[in-house]
């Protein structure tokens, strides 16, 4: 803060009082977060690493050994990775051109595209799943339309991995395009024009000017989509196959149907550990962006 403030002369005591009041005000949400995020996560990590033998608890990897020795658990984990990477690739292939288009285009068509891109933000996941079943399912809308054009051998992606990817991409379009477009807006028109004046082509402009400036938005979009897909439940549960399952569905089944909270906890901690690096990347990227904004 560089602005001069006409604050009353503050003694050490009144500064102290102000700080205490501030801590009292910020304590409730922090407490809630500690109680409902940090403590459960830490406790899960500690508990999955301990084992009770004849009343004595000790350190052990046995729960993890059991997880990685179980072919079903491993195939679910591998399946989750495959879905995450395929979905991420498709998200970027779809969203990058849209974001670049929305940044530079003007006019009615661009406005309409913008509205459609934002639209999925206003469709809750559970309704999306129902809609996709009606749309993609056998004898659904797509099947009907194709049959009108004489295509009869429609094979539905519903209950196959493809349907999970379709649903997840559909859900993440608005956020990804919003973040990428916001990043692209930081690039001024004059910068691109001057590059053009000295003879830079579209590709050079993209690689030399646009790409470095949108690293941060790309990292945010990547990390949040990664975490979102890894931690998803509704879309894979309702649209995906019964086996293999994504980790969210697997955990819910272990906890809710098989009533094995311990095993579900191990599965949860494995997802934490896998996602921890990406989570850190997300927090670091947003933090550096925020600190930079406050300095400006």
């Amino acid at each position: 803060m560089t602005t001069l403030q006409t604050s009353p002369p503050s003694s050490a005591w009144s500064r102290w009082r102000g700080a205490i009041l501030a801590y009292v005000l910020v304590a409730p949400p922090l407490l809630l977060m500690v109680l409902l995020i940090f403590i459960p996560a830490l406790q899960s990590i500690v508990r999955t690493l301990t084992i009770d033998v004849e009343g004595q608890s000790g350190f052990s990897f046995s729960r993890y050994v059991a997880f990685f020795n179980d072919p079903i658990s491993v195939s679910n984990l591998v399946f989750t990775f495959q879905i995450v990477f395929l979905t991420l690739i498709i998200i970027f292939i779809v969203c990058f051109p849209l974001a670049i288009y929305l940044r530079f285009a003007q006019g009615r068509i661009a406005a309409a595209v913008q509205i459609l891109v934002l639209f999925p933000l206003f469709v809750p996941g559970i309704i999306l799943c129902y809609a996709l079943i009606r749309f993609l399912g056998t004898r659904g809308t797509l099947d009907t339309v194709l049959s009108i054009f004489g295509v009869t051998e429609y094979r539905t992606p519903y209950l196959k991995p493809d349907a999970i990817i379709i649903g997840l991409v559909w859900e993440s379009i608005p956020f990804t395009v919003l973040v990428l477009t916001a990043g692209l807006r930081q690039i001024s028109d004059s910068l691109i024009e001057s590059a053009r004046d000295v003879g830079a082509g579209d590709w050079t402009i993209f690689r030399r000017i646009i790409l470095p400036l949108i690293t941060r938005p790309v990292l945010i979009a990547f990390s949040l989509n990664f975490l979102g897909i890894f931690g998803s439940y509704t879309v894979p549960y309702l649209l995906g196959p019964a086996a293999p399952q994504m980790m969210g569905v697997f955990m819910q089944q272990t906890f809710g149907q098989y009533r094995r909270p311990d095993d579900a906890e191990t599965q949860a901690v494995i997802t934490f550990l896998i996602c921890s690096l990406v989570g850190l990347l997300y927090v670091r990227t947003v933090a550096s962006q925020r600190i930079q904004q406050e300095d400006e």
Partner: protein, 289 residues
Amino acid sequence: MTSAQPPVSNDFWRTTRRSFTAMIRRDGFGLLALVVLALVILGPLYSVVLWAFAERWRYPSLIPTEFGFKFWEQTFSRADIAAALPFSIVLSLVVTALSALICLPASYAFARMRFRGRQALLLSFLATNAFPRFGLYISIAVIFFRLNLIGTVPGVIMIQLVNTLLLMIWIPTAAFQGIDRSLEEAALDVGASPLRVFIQITLPMVMPALSAALLLTFVNTFYEAQGALLIGLPRIVTMPVLMYSLINSQLVTQYGAIVSFVLWLPSLLLLLVAQKLLRGGYLTAGFGV
């Protein structure tokens, strides 16, 4: 190609034609995107809306064979739906109110007060996004399981509150930071009490942001299904949770369609103010961007 040269003789037509094709090509992408997006994004919803008003819909007809409201009565006379809808609305209101109560004073402190660790504490709320959501829910559920909070209203309220923290703190904090303080100082100088300044000057200035935060929190909570499913079942059933069973059992297609349609209405409200939300930067605030 895009440089505007003064048209000279027959070069004129060539440049015009070139810029025209360039325009077609540029708008061509827009047109293509528009058509594909309309099909992919509106297509699925088309089926839902039409199914909600269909008495009968035989394959391979593109629109329902018979329109009507017969199933609306049936849907809302189902005991589970009649109970879940008001419960969901009240639950979302309670969660939103609690969230505001907990977070708004904190956001004022984050924006206006100076204290050690302010920035770090504010950033720590990003943790709500930094975990794979369902894994975190499982961790919470294991603790709630031992505390006998599974299947209770307090349990569901708590898990839904976690989801509201980031939005309810970051949007108002940005708003309190963004207001021009000279008005407040002027009012204080002419002798207004701090409380009066807050109510008559500060509050009106942050009102758009506060209402955006409240609206987004309410709608997000209303649609929150995964936490409520894991913590709430078997005794607590919200509308989105009910949708899982309506989809899985598929007794009558119309039930799911009608419930989807009704559930979707609050979201349409958001759509109406979407431009405002977008311009205020509120839509991405929930992601910490």
